[in-house]
Symmetry: C2
Subunit: 327 residues, 2 copies
Amino acid sequence: MGKTIKIGIVGYGNLGKGVRQAIGQNPDMELAAVFTRREPAGLQAGENVRFEAFSAIESYIGNIDVMILCGGSATDLPEQTPHIARWFHTVDSFDTHAKIPEFFETVDAAAWQGGKLSIISTGWDPGLFSLNRLLAEAILPEGKEYTFWGKGVSQGHSDAIRRIPGVKAGVQYTVPVPEAIERIRSGETPDLQTREKHSRHCYVVAEDGADKERIREAIVTMPNYFADYDTTVTFVSEEELKAEHGGMPHGGFVIRSGTTGSGTKQRIEFGLTLGSNPEFTASVLVACARAGFRLGEQGAVGARTIFDLPLGLLSPKSPEQLRRELL
Amino acid sequence: MGKTIKIGIVGYGNLGKGVRQAIGQNPDMELAAVFTRREPAGLQAGENVRFEAFSAIESYIGNIDVMILCGGSATDLPEQTPHIARWFHTVDSFDTHAKIPEFFETVDAAAWQGGKLSIISTGWDPGLFSLNRLLAEAILPEGKEYTFWGKGVSQGHSDAIRRIPGVKAGVQYTVPVPEAIERIRSGETPDLQTREKHSRHCYVVAEDGADKERIREAIVTMPNYFADYDTTVTFVSEEELKAEHGGMPHGGFVIRSGTTGSGTKQRIEFGLTLGSNPEFTASVLVACARAGFRLGEQGAVGARTIFDLPLGLLSPKSPEQLRRELL
């Protein structure tokens, strides 16, 4: 085993906490510091992790190998990744799909400035799902591909519910339509409408005296978020919401049905069933940090995505061991 | 689009035929020649492919970019891959697991002699299944992994049946035990015995007057092949065997159940449902040939496995297009 990989975490929400836990599962890594926007002293009490302010990041040059950036894609990462990529190898989970090409260019330029390596937009989607879309399409060029998400909590849709007057709290689950998956698994390649792929299930706590029917109507007719789906709304108590819907499960499938030869059917399927979306995403980021560190040590510079990584680099095992044990 | 990749096929059984068909699905490739042990002239009639004898391989140096080696792992590939890897980039599906480390070293040395690149042991298992075992283990280091094969035809087991006196023809299916898969999908991580993971279903044509009960007994008690499994034997007519059991379906799953954080369950699953095992394997070989060609053009030399390939190289799309369309 080579030297331990020193990791820094930037941002300490659910994802940052997940990264800290995942590092604990990987003996070839150690957590050097957590950088937070909050008052570090306030987080420090009783913790065996070093908390630092964002402003201290630069002072860790040379003492941290890879920074795992755990901020949000809307405002944090577009600013933080290019800033930090000049100083450290980085890994992030930037997931604003339409902006990935632009983000890649910006981060690539920053990483080249400092001779560092940045792996962007990793996690499970974008990330593992993207990899499986690529793999399945490359192997079965004649075919049709489907991505289903869920059952899982969508933060964006849960937020949309909570903005409705009279709603005290709410959680939204995206659920794949079982009939659609069954049709595809049986060999069909249907053109599916939005409504035929996913349904949306909302658990809502209403304010005292609120008009529940009006809330239900406001949800199911909301354009972009719910109007195009079969949406169910279930009113629950605040206690029930916390007890039954406080987790962050997610998952989904990437399925490609294709043909080879003279119409022979072939199907490739990749699926995730996740008890915690942020903890799993964190585990992917940590494995990618290992790959980023190794590529960086080999002299690779600039931005990369999971498409550019030889996957053997994700594993702590040597190439010889991988060939012997896993091939 | 760059120049067309010129492919040679070595060996023209089911796999070689599948490679020929798969090349037809990939417009960036062309089939330069098929090298066969049989009399090339005998295959040539009415075919728009150039058939050549093995002895002509060397004369194609400079005119073929990648040789896809479609021989068997028992005797063909151990001889052919090192021989041809001195002259051409190669891709093969060598699958004698215990001998992979030694095979890798031999092919690596041969490829270095000629400054070429060889991708060994690819296909779906070893290949895609290996990749998913690696990926799942790297992401969920605390967990347990299962590989199930089938429902599919096992050539080795079918051959074993056909060697029994009184058996005219036979086909053996390996079938995963549904209860085992259900237990794992429900979150359990059981230690499973051989018998609990797969069952074996045999369809047998008996010679006229043969003692069927003795044949059945000979099959189900056969050490290594059947004795450790729940095995069913069904006698069928020759016509029924051809009509119902003439295909080469296969597939299976790689499932890893792991935990993150404080015991949160996470599951990663990769599955294949294949109408034709050789046609699908061929499609993987062809996509890997593209990756091998590109790596070779970049100056990479020596033996590689699927663990060493950035998967973006498998796709005909450019890195920019992949980031825009598939990430």
